[in-house]
């Protein structure tokens, strides 16, 4: 899901960078000093989760779990996922440097949106109800992300339209897996540590 340097047109790269700066600023504003350890440790757990490969048929996919990140972290998911992408680019060589902004927006904006939309629903009702909403949120985040990747490719040139469509359709199984996994994760978290999602302000639990 990472886009590399050199593929996108300048307006897309610049637009992505500017929006990413805005998103990070917004996320940091919602991150008081007291919450930094929690956000940092969660950011590290999502980084580790992205190293997990789950089987799908004869192949395997690695997890992204940006929906879950948004549900747990709210706006703080933006800087947290940005940090993950930065570390991946610098130490693993995944993605690129000038496209960091675009990649951050593509992954973190869906996370934040899902967090804002589904977080109250996930915290309410029985753990099973929360899990179902969490699953929908987890799947929706990947759908938004693939759509955002497809749109950033398409805005850069008509030659990418086919690639963009293939990116979207080939990720439908990933959406399902992420939905199932996020739902199960929420179910467990709701039963083991219900206060994870209970927060009056809707900011980081």
């Amino acid at each position: 899901m990472h886009i590399v340097d050199g593929a996108l047109s300048n307006p897309v790269v610049i637009g992505g960078a500017v929006s990413a700066v805005g998103g990070i600023a917004m996320g940091l504003r919602n991150l008081p000093l007291e919450r930094i350890p929690a956000a940092g440790v969660l950011s590290a757990s999502f980084f580790v989760a992205s190293l997990i490969h789950v089987p799908i048929g004869p192949s395997s996919v690695h997890l992204i779990l940006n929906g879950l990140a948004g549900l747990v972290l709210g706006w703080a998911a933006f800087p947290a996922l940005f940090v993950g992408l930065l570390l991946q680019a610098v130490f693993f060589g995944f993605g690129g440097l000038t496209v960091l902004g675009v990649n951050a927006v593509n992954i973190a904006l869906p996370a934040v949106l899902v967090g804002l939309m589904f977080r109250p629903l996930v915290a309410r009702g029985s753990p099973l109800q929360g899990a179902i909403w969490g699953g929908i949120g987890g799947g929706a985040a990947i759908a938004f992300t693939t759509l955002a990747v497809a749109v950033s490719l398409m805005l850069s040139g008509d030659e990418f339209i086919l690639a963009a469509k293939l990116v979207f359709f080939s990720h439908i199984p990933v959406m399902l897996i992420e939905a199932l996994l996020s739902g199960a994760a929420i179910f467990l978290a709701r039963r083991v540590k219900p206060e994870l999602f209970v927060d009056t302000k809707g900011s980081l639990a």
Binding site: G6, A7, A25, L28, A49, L63, L68, P79, A80, L87
Partner: protein, 262 residues
């Protein structure tokens, strides 16, 4: 154990074992020059000039003292992700046909575009890995802070760097205990639910761990200030390196303009 970010077999301080020329240079200068390098290379489009840029990145790798094979392997891994998009390009860009596969015409222009993206992506990521990725992760955090990155973002990054290895061990403990209980991953509901519980458990433990961390930090009077353990200084070698790299970039820009004019 191997460390996730650095891939080293020994703790972070052990990296000094293969400390070479680039790693002795000022981290702030390396970060700034890498950003400049990336912007310049992305703006190039001539294939010869881009090949020269990739050559420059290779030279940086040789100069950096990073294990070349491992680094190139990582670069090749990125290529395996994008190869799919690159293979499609010749068929989607209209232009003079060069060859046809199953009745689909591949265009010369598309082939050129694919080569351009591949060269750019590899040149930039290789420079990023050699100039910035060769730092200790903590040093990178301090250097970014010295370059006026918001304090909280740096804190967040330092926490992430610190806890990636701790949490990966936690993940490995959990997956070992799953294996001991006879868990075999496959394409089924049971697998996805179990992985979901695994992730959920990791999050719960992470939150609980962060509560203990916060308490320990409060106990030590944490105020949110980043204390720089090393003071960064621009030495002559740093300025020389920056000047040499700038000259090389200027030469690339000149070559690009020259080819565009001719």
């Amino acid at each position: 154990m191997t460390y996730v970010l650095t891939g080293a077999e020994r703790p972070l301080s052990g990296i000094g074992a293969f400390r070479a020329k680039v790693t002795a240079l000022d981290p702030r200068m390396r970060i700034v020059m890498t950003a400049v390098y990336a912007v310049v290379v992305v703006s190039l489009s001539n294939l010869w000039v881009l090949s020269a840029a990739l050559g420059l990145s290779m030279w940086l790798l040789a100069f950096s003292g990073l294990p070349p094979r491992k680094t190139l392997k990582r670069m090749a891994m990125m290529d395996s992700f994008i190869i799919f998009m690159l293979v499609l390009l010749p068929f989607t860009v209209p232009g003079t046909p060069v060859l046809s596969v199953w009745g689909l015409e591949a265009s010369w222009e598309g082939l050129r575009r694919a080569a351009e993206i591949a060269l750019t992506a590899n040149a930039v990521i290789l420079a990023v890995m050699t100039l910035v990725g060769s730092m200790e992760p903590v040093t990178m955090g301090h250097a970014l802070f010295a370059l006026k990155t918001p304090e909280r973002l740096v804190h967040l990054m330092m926490f992430t760097i610190r806890y990636i290895d701790v949490l990966r061990e936690e993940y490995q403990r959990l997956s070992t205990s799953m294996k001991l209980r006879g868990f075999r991953p496959g394409t089924n509901w049971h697998t996805y639910r179990s992985y979901g519980y695994l992730v959920g458990m990791m999050l719960v433990r992470a939150i609980e761990r962060s509560e203990r961390i916060l308490a320990a930090m409060k106990c030590r009077g944490f105020s949110g200030r980043i204390i720089l353990l090393e003071d960064f200084r621009l030495r002559r070698a740093d300025l020389l390196f920056a000047a040499a790299l700038t000259a090389a970039l200027a030469a690339l820009i000149w070559a690009e303009a020259f080819y565009a004019a001719s």
